[in-house]
């Protein structure tokens, strides 16, 4: 187990800078997920930690050692790739044992290690098969096995679940989490899927355009998003955003609606953005922050998502699954005060 520290990490390709000074400290045994949209620099960061990309400036420390100039093999890490990268011409046994080729273990010890890993990943019966005889989930497990067999200090996962179908992805999510609980190694996991990030991570690192937007536990980034980007990126459906201005006694939204919110930290005339998660914005009969006309409903079973037109702005709210509103109904939308997020419209930063 080991710590991974990134200090002012910068990556540039020619004149194009893609990482703008990443600072991150990953504790020993921690499961950290780097998440963000395509092109945010999460995979580049991971590849730099692995040693597959050169560092333009800054420092990478693994287990307290500066590894900027070390070859990937000397960093004591293992990586699982998006496309599994298991060799089609080798059996499962050879694939898993591939990482031990350069070790000084005897053949018996190697075989023993392979058998142990295969048993953990339930691959024992598949050891003599070739990858083309395996399902997607089994291939993914082989890739994990190849990483595990070397017992590295840290595991790096580069979007390993992207190629799996939804059901298998859920299953593999659980397996990776179980694996972490069992082996306790440091894991750095890259994904663009915020559900994966929320369900697996001890801490989530949300990135955008080569800059870390927020680092926190899943609940922190969900309930206390640092800015509008994080607020919209985490949670599905995305948080409703309504622009407005602080009035004398309440908030005047740009669509003409007025909203009562605590104004103690706001100054009159300040441009702000109100964030309301669809889960926290409830369709009510009588009370409400504002009202609107239902334009679309999406029944989800236990709940219904109602798309409500509030003076020209569409917001998503949660309604009863059993008694959903009908399209065209006029409904009131209510949210508890503690569920209202306020952001500075100019900077996008949260107003705490």
């Amino acid at each position: 187990m080991t710590t991974v520290v990134l200090k002012n990490l910068v990556k540039a390709y020619g004149n194009t800078q893609v990482l703008h000074g990443i600072d991150l400290e990953i504790k020993s045994g921690e499961f950290v997920v780097l998440v963000g949209p395509s092109g945010c620099g999460k995979s580049t960061t991971l590849r730099m930690i692995a040693g597959l990309e050169e560092v333009t400036s800054g420092e990478i420390q693994i287990g307290g050692n500066l590894v900027n100039d070390l070859e990937p093999k000397d960093r004591d890490i293992a990586m699982v790739f998006q496309n599994y990268a298991i060799y089609p011409h080798m059996t499962v046994r050879k694939n898993i044992g591939f990482g031990l080729r350069t070790s000084k273990l005897s053949k018996t010890e190697r075989d023993q290690r392979i058998d142990e890993v295969a048993a953990i990943l339930e691959l024992t019966n598949l050891l003599e098969r070739k990858p083309n005889q395996l399902s997607g989930g089994q291939r993914q497990r082989v890739a994990m096995g190849r990483a595990m067999v070397r017992n590295p200090s840290a595991f790096l996962f580069d979007e390993p679940l992207s190629n799996l179908d939804a059901q298998l992805r859920t299953q593999m999510r659980l397996e990776i989490k179980k694996l972490h609980q069992r082996v306790g190694n440091t894991i750095i996991f890259v994904t663009h899927d915020q559900v994966e990030a929320m369900t697996m991570a001890d801490r989530i690192v949300i990135m955008k355009d080569g800059v870390i937007q927020q680092v926190g536990t899943p609940l922190e980034v969900f309930y206390q998003p640092a800015n509008t980007f994080v607020a919209r990126f985490i949670g599905a459906p995305s948080m409703n955003m309504l622009n407005g201005e602080v009035g004398g006694e309440d908030l005047q939204l740009d669509n003409g609606t007025r909203m009562s919110v605590p104004l103690n930290k706001l100054s009159k005339g300040q441009k702000i953005t109100v964030g309301l998660r669809p889960d926290d914005l409830l369709v009510k009969e009588n009370e409400g922050l504002f009202s609107g006309k239902v334009s679309l409903v999406e029944p989800l079973g236990s709940d219904t998502l109602a798309y409500v037109d509030v003076n020209g702005t569409e917001v998503i709210a949660k309604a009863s699954g059993r008694f959903p509103p009908a399209i065209g109904d006029r409904v009131n939308l209510h949210s508890a005060a503690e569920n209202i997020h306020l952001f500075d419209s100019n900077t996008g930063e949260a107003i705490q």
Partner: protein
């Protein structure tokens, strides 16, 4: 729509369908005819070669496919002629060594050009490709001067050196290595293999079809090579098979039956190579994006 209209519509549809079917069969027939003609054109010389090899000299200029008095005397004569075995061995050694060298060097250069980024990579690749535009006949003189200067005339090395690495092979291998995902190489890098080990252990097995295709091309090319071995060799002992077979033509006459017998025997190794690797050759050519 009335019942009569519906009937009319159905009969129209049926006639349209049968017209389309007729057109399809005609097109099919033309395709088959063209393929058959092409096949005959390619097979006839081989059949003639075999037929001539079974004829006595007096019957050689008869165009009959089946010899009136078939004989294996030509085969006996050629095989008992000590020189033939020597030429056969020369050709086999030269073609085999050249093939192995091509498989090794072309794939190494193709791999480097494909998987590594370095200044001038594109220029090097273009320079290699541009040599494909120079006809062999133009290169023969510099090759000869080189061989003469280095004392390689009438040696195996002199025959082999121009073909130990080819631009075509490099291009073929580079194209194939494009299909090997970088993830494989990076995974091996993380697992601790050095670059040469990655090339040999990971990349090469993944391009086996291309290697087989390249091996066939190079082997056939060298097995049938004529002009350069003819120029660079002086003694009959160093002749390759195609060059050696020409000694059956003497001033007074051309012993076609012996030449054809030698040619028939010389096709055996190429047939064996082709039969072993044939499933790869098509895949290799298709994947390299070339028209075979």
């Amino acid at each position: 729509m009335t019942a009569a209209d519906s009937l009319d519509h159905n009969s129209q549809m049926t006639s349209l369908r049968s017209a389309a079917k007729r057109k399809r069969s005609q097109a099919q027939f033309i395709r088959w005819l063209l393929l058959f003609t092409g096949g005959i054109a390619m097979v006839m010389p081989i059949i003639y070669m075999l037929s001539t090899s079974l004829k006595y000299p007096f019957e050689v200029y008869n165009l009959n496919l089946i010899p009136e008095e078939p004989t294996l005397d030509n085969y006996r004569y050629v095989l008992e002629d000590g020189r033939f075995f020597g030429w056969f061995t020369n050709s086999l050694v030269i073609a085999t060594v050249t093939t192995l060298c091509n498989v090794l060097f072309d794939s190494l250069v193709g791999y480097v050009l494909c998987k590594y980024t370095f200044p001038g990579r594109y220029i090097v690749f273009i320079a290699i490709l541009s040599t494909l535009m120079i006809p062999t006949e133009m290169l023969v003189i510099p090759w000869y001067l080189m061989s003469s200067a280095f004392g390689w005339l009438d040696t195996y090395w002199g025959i082999m050196f121009p073909g130990l690495m080819t631009a075509f092979g490099t291009f073929l291998m580079k194209q194939f290595f494009e299909t090997v995902p970088d993830d494989f190489l990076e995974a091996a890098r993380i697992d601790g293999l050095n670059e040469l080990q990655i090339w040999w252990t990971v990349a090469m097995p993944l391009v086996r079809p291309a290697l087989a295709a390249l091996a066939i091309f190079v082997f056939l090319g060298n097995w049938t090579a004529f002009i350069w071995p003819l120029i660079v060799t002086n003694s009959q002992e160093m002749y390759t098979l195609p060059v050696g077979l020409t000694t059956f033509s003497v001033e007074a006459q051309v012993e076609w039956e012996l030449i054809m017998t030698g040619a028939a025997i010389s096709t055996i190794p190429t047939l064996i190579v082709f039969l072993i690797f044939q499933r790869y050759i098509i895949r290799g050519v298709v994947m390299a994006g070339l028209k075979g």
